[in-house]
Amino acid sequence: MNVDLSIYNSIKNSGIDLILSLPCIMLKGLLTVIEERKEIQHISLTREEEGVGIAAGAYLGGKTPVILIQNSGLGNSINAIKSLLYLYRIPVVFIMSHRGAEGEKILAQIPMGQLTPDLLDLLNIQKFIVNSIDNIKKITLAIRTSIESKSSVGIVLQKKLWSD
């Protein structure tokens, strides 16, 4: 099965019922699957921090949302992650493509790309690195962890996943 479809199925089968997204070239295929299937409510964002607010509201309303973004957007969300999600203990699943990691050709992506894993640690968000097809099962584990422990988790999708 293709990678994007496997990721999608892991998200769907884990009980996610709202996807809040901003595009990334690495997420192009996954976003296409999400749009074609129309099984999970999908809302496009204008900025990642906005997604943290919408996800919080959706959680209050009984939904299980994911925020699907590029890792650069994690930086745009820091204050909201702490002063909204953490403060009220509202769990949200972040799924982010990891630009600026090994093999990155665009210089501008590198500083934030290098910071991303440490930033998740600093934010106290448990991270799940997914870099092979075999690893896709970690997505299910991460979402289950978030639901059961009522804490936010960060799923980091690395480029190797698509060339595996």
């Binding site: 709202l18 809302i43 204008t46 919408i54």
Partner: protein, 186 residues
Amino acid sequence: MKRFDAIKEIVKALRNELVVCNLGAPSRELYHIDDREKTFYMLGSMGLASSIAFGLAISKPDEKVLCIDGDGALLMNLGSLATIANNKPENLTLVVIDNSSYGSTGNQRTYTSNKTKLEIIAKGAGFESITFIDSEDKIEKILNSLGKGCHFVLIKTQPGNVKVENIPLNPEKLKERFMKSFSIKT
């Protein structure tokens, strides 16, 4: 009219709505005027009131959601207007109390004191129902007249806060109280 007066009028129009209120002085004043379980008071994340209210509205389509936002906060998250207007939940009223100032930090002026008109930005973002109110005695009546739909209401006021106590509720308890008020298990 100051923010406090506007909130008093908004409260008169409330029935069973879920309310999301902007942080700082607006939340404190609202808490002081009329604390209700169905109100979610923001304590941080300035700018995200409309986003939280939108997330709530799309998750609870059978509930009416009312957001009390401010000009300074909305200026931080203008993209939210595009997201809300394009997805157009039929159960959301976004009330912006525009006092042209950052009220919780010493009443420094915002750009709405000069050239910026948030109701025109809302129109450009795609809102179809936009109401401008600058007199206190119209607030309750106008809010009561808004039916199903996605509404943008701007209330123009003078700057100034009323000194009231901080909200004594713990954030987690506040969340649980809010969710239980419309039967969401926490």
